[in-house]
């Protein structure tokens, strides 16, 4: 079955935790007849909403992994990527955003734009994702879609335009007025499936006229035809749709819809908007890197007849075995085809090709450009590119941040040990920000990631899905070391104890490198160090970087230049020069004023203004630098930069400080030198540990 690209939408549903995203997705699947009954996220029936297929998600009532699902709405095919709402899983969000063409940003009509929505919005802007806004929970006490729309303008800096106004609010929510057709829309029947259009209630007419005026004003910026028609007083629905669509695609306009998924109101109108305003795969320009031509960027065609380029954006190990979710950007993938993983050049045969509906699936014969499907039994990692033979391209690598926190895990018994390694193998493939390694000195397995919750969730999953019970150590911050000034070295490595000796002299200097981890410059003239040993020096320096002398942390930001040295005709060797370089680095490092760096997090705390003082106090106590505060009506958010090491357990502290009314998000900002007193403590601890082992 070939899908007409004009009738295909790949959309994400992205939002703040608890704004009702999963409920909304559930309703969409119901109205598009993919499911036949509605379950709630925290439902009493114990079935749970369809998109939260992982046990853990059901228990916590939150969505952790983005599952892709496929549905049909009025002749359009829609692939929905459900994305997690918590900031600790941003790699998941970012990866999902990459494969989307458009998104629905859900906001709670009471809570409005909160810090998480700001983060998600920023990510959408980074990936140039056109979006529409759906203001959910209009049935809640305190619902105010107008205020939320203003916040979208102020806080998210988006040109938000109301496409609807509510008929009644809070408990009295009945439907919406469509400002394009100028009709009242009611959602009736048990599940809101019966849509009734009627005249606008008289008391809302003035307001509707006024908001329609604003809508026309905003939309006419994108269509001269519409502008002329407005002047003549004859704008048609089609003209308005076209103009709004143009504005949305150019990322300059964001149409706003509203309703209550829980009360079954407004969801169908939002689906209409998805098909009307969000882009088709053809509207979006995607690029890949040409591996045959120095990774030059090339534009993909979205033509199903061109050679295949596709991206594996998600792996899942479910009850059906290993599933790989793939977005096809160009060409067609057929059952039985041989495709190539451009990371390692391995050939892979396409066995089963399926279209996913949350946790059910439908076998298909082929899938073409623009589509999102899943493959069975393919061994690969998230972010791998699959192409047809001869098409040597790679989708540009995604921005993957370095992990900032790690902890040791110890399996409780032998069986747990085996299961644990299975689980870790799976998780590291699914999530590039989750890493694992064995510490050679302590023999412990260390896992590292982007935050406390990030690691906690994987530990939970290990227990539940893999029955691997583990003991968990204290979280450790990933320190680094670097140098702050230039220093020279001149070191001779000499060893003559029977047999062949070792000799090598290396001289030069090290200096701070602002952008980058390590650079090696060879300025040797006249063969003071023979050619063949230059790379030995490089190797020796790189080895030195693995562990700094202060805290045993990796060293970054160093540029090493060698400009002199000496060799011996018999005694010089690869090993001798590596050791000479290690000695030379040690000598230079001591003189270059080394410092310890620690990860600094950008923290945003949001809550009622009355708690602002307490919040700032708590951040200040944690060595935080408060950058500023944003005061709005009775809500204040505080932005600060705080060392990660001080943020452990902050959620509990914040909850008790603010009666649970404030919340915080944090993301990695940068590495900064630790203050002297803290550095001394870290060094002492590192020394104590060295002596232990």
């Amino acid at each position: 079955m070939k899908v007409n690209l004009d009738n295909l939408r790949n959309i994400g549903i992205s939002a703040h935790i608890d704004s009702g995203k999963t409920t909304l997705t559930e309703r969409i699947l119901f109205y598009t007849q993919r499911i036949h009954a509605i379950h709630e996220v925290r439902g009493k029936d114990g079935v749970g909403a369809k998109m939260d297929s992982m046990e853990l998600e059901k228990e916590r009532g939150i969505t952790i992994q983005s599952a892709a699902t496929y549905c049909n709405w009025k002749g359009h095919a829609i692939n929905i990527i459900d994305t997690p709402g918590h900031v600790d899983f941003t790699i998941e969000v970012e990866r999902a955003l990459r494969v989307l063409d458009g998104a629905v940003l859900i906001l709670c009509s009471v809570g409005g734009v909160q810090s998480q929505s700001i983060t998600v919005n920023r990510q959408m802007t980074r990936y140039k994702v056109p979006r529409i806004v759906f203001i959910n929970k209009c049935d809640r006490t305190g619902a105010n879609p107008y205020r939320v729309t203003r916040q979208v303008r102020d806080k998210l800096d988006l040109n938000a335009v109301l496409m609807q106004i509510p008929i009644g609010l809070e408990g009295d929510l009945q439907g919406v007025v469509d400002l394009v057709t100028m009709k009242a829309v009611y959602f009736e029947g048990d599940k809101g499936e019966v849509i009734r259009e009627a005249d606008i209630p008289a008391e809302l007419l003035d307001e509707a006229e006024e908001k329609r005026e604003e809508l026309l004003d905003a939309a006419s910026m994108y269509s001269e035809e519409l502008m002329e028609a407005i002047l003549e007083g004859t704008p048609t629905e089609e003209m308005i749709h076209d103009a709004v669509r143009k504005g949305t695609l150019s990322l300059e306009l964001v149409p706003v819809f509203m309703g209550s998924a829980y009360k079954n109101k407004g969801v169908q109108s939002m689906l209409d908007a998805v098909t009307a305003y969000l882009p088709t795969p053809k509207d979006i320009e995607n690029t890949a890197l040409d591996l045959d031509n120095e990774e030059k960027e090339i534009i993909l065609s979205s033509n199903p007849d061109d050679s295949l380029t596709s991206l594996a954006f998600k792996l899942e190990d479910g009850r059906y075995g290993q599933l790989t979710y793939i977005r096809i950007y160009q060409g067609t993938m057929k059952k039985g085809d041989t495709i190539i993983n451009s990371r390692d050049g391995k050939k892979v045969k396409v066995g089963r090709l399926v279209r996913m509906h949350s946790d059910e699936m439908e076998d298909i014969e082929e899938a073409a450009a623009g589509d999102i499907v899943a493959l069975f039994g393919i061994d690969c990692a998230s972010g791998d590119t699959f192409t047809s033979p001869g098409n040597n391209v790679s989708m540009s690598s995604m921005h993957v941040p370095e992990p900032v926190i790690s902890l040791a895990i110890i399996p409780e018994d032998n069986k747990a040990q085996i299961n644990m390694s299975k689980a870790l193998n799976r998780f590291t493939k699914e999530d590039p920000t989750f890493r694992t390694f064995v510490d050679h000195e302590t023999n412990e397995t260390i896992i590292s990631g982007m935050g406390e919750l990030h690691l906690e969730v994987y530990i939970e999953r290990m227990k539940r899905e893999y029955k691997a019970a583990v003991e968990v150590g204290q979280p450790q911050v990933a320190y680094r070391e670097t140098i702050t000034q230039m220093a020279e070295f001149n070191y001779t490595h000499k060893k003559q104890t029977g047999g062949s000796g070792q000799f090598g002299r290396v001289a030069g200097f090290i200096e701070p490198l602002d952008d980058g981890e390590y650079e090696f410059i060879d300025q040797i003239v006249g063969g003071a160090i023979p050619r063949e040993f230059i790379s030995s020096c490089d190797k020796g320096f790189q080895k030195s970087l693995e562990k700094g002398s202060l805290a045993g942390a990796p060293i970054t930001g160093v540029k090493v230049t060698i400009n002199d040295g000496a060799a011996h005709a018999v005694d010089s060797s690869d090993v001798a020069f590596q050791l000479a370089a290690i000695g030379a680095f040690k000598e230079g490092y001591q003189k270059a004023k080394p410092v310890i760096l620690e990860p600094i997090m950008k923290v945003a705390v949001e809550g009622p203004s009355e708690f602002q003082g307490a919040v700032m106090g708590s951040l200040n106590q944690r060595r935080g630098i408060i950058i500023g505060t944003i005061e709005e009506a009775n809500y204040t958010s505080v932005e600060a930069e705080v060392p990660l090491s001080e943020m452990f357990g902050y959620s509990t502290v914040l909850r008790s400080l603010t009666q649970g009314k404030a919340e915080f998000t944090m993301e990695f900002a940068n590495y900064k030198p630790v203050p002297k007193s803290v550095a001394e403590e870290i060094i002492k601890k590192a020394e104590a540990e060295k002596q232990k082992s």
């Binding site: 102020d154 806080k155 800096d157 602002q612 003082g613 700032m616 106090g617 200040n620 630098i625 408060i626 950058i627 500023g628 505060t629 944003i630 005061e631 709005e632 009506a633 932005e639 930069e641 900064k672 030198p673």
Partner: protein
């Protein structure tokens, strides 16, 4: 160049001569300009100068968002550090960051009691004790004499220096006897120092039309229109 030289060579020395002890405890300054002529840039440079000298600065922004205010500081620091080939840039930047805090208010959320409450929060918990407060975006057109007097008294009680920016409107040509244009023509007596930003043919001039504490009155500084940096 070292930080100390940077402080000495700053053209703003005309306004804030060294040593710092010779400065009045509380002074109220005003920078006036039409839209787009660099009010914020000048306030940030005044703030930055104080920060370099080790004073703590609270930047209050009415109506702007936090990111934009912060971006001004980042840009101006970059111009300063690149232009002067400053040494130890990283260290100086961290030091400066500690001397600054930004507070942003939505227009409707800004009021004297609220500002006072916030300042008290900061001071009593010893989170931040400002020596200088710059207020950007305060709407003088909507404010009356009493409310500005009120702010002045509050700042004086807290012993801080305060700088305001005010937006001039092209169509409003009322001027006070001292030469202070609208919308501040009726409150000019409250300010100790007033700087007017005047666009000339291809330069922007800063005219110091009033200065109670110093002989800076009548002096003129320039503004580089491409970087918005103050020049002698």
């Amino acid at each position: 160049m070292l930080k100390e030289d940077l402080i000495k060579k700053n053209p703003l020395r005309v306004l804030n001569p060294l040593p710092a002890e010779s400065l009045p405890d509380h002074r109220m300054g005003l920078v006036m300009a039409r839209a787009g002529l660099g009010k914020t840039a000048i306030l940030v440079q005044i703030a930055m100068d104080s920060m370099l000298r080790g004073q703590k600065v609270l930047h209050v922004s009415v109506g702007e968002d936090l990111g934009k205010a912060k971006a001004w500081y980042d840009d101006i620091f970059r111009y300063i550090s690149e232009g002067s080939q400053l040494e130890n840039v990283g260290e100086v930047e961290i030091e400066l960051m500690r001397n600054r805090m930004i507070m942003t208010f939505k227009e409707s959320a800004f009021s004297r009691p609220k500002l006072e409450e916030r300042l008290n929060d900061l001071i009593y918990q010893s989170i931040f004790r400002p020596d200088v407060v710059v207020v950007d975006g305060y709407d003088f057109a909507e404010a009356d004499y009493d409310s500005i007097m009120d702010l002045k008294e509050m700042m004086a009680a807290m012993n801080v220096q305060v700088w305001f920016s005010a937006l001039r409107h092209r169509e409003d040509d009322r001027v006070s006897a001292a030469g202070v244009p609208a919308p501040c023509h009726e409150v000019d007596g409250l300010f100790d120092t007033v700087i007017i930003v005047q666009p000339e043919q291809d330069a922007i001039m800063l005219e110091i039309i009033k200065d109670e504490y110093d002989s800076a009155a009548g002096k003129v500084l320039n503004l580089d229109p491409s970087t918005m940096m103050v020049k002698a």
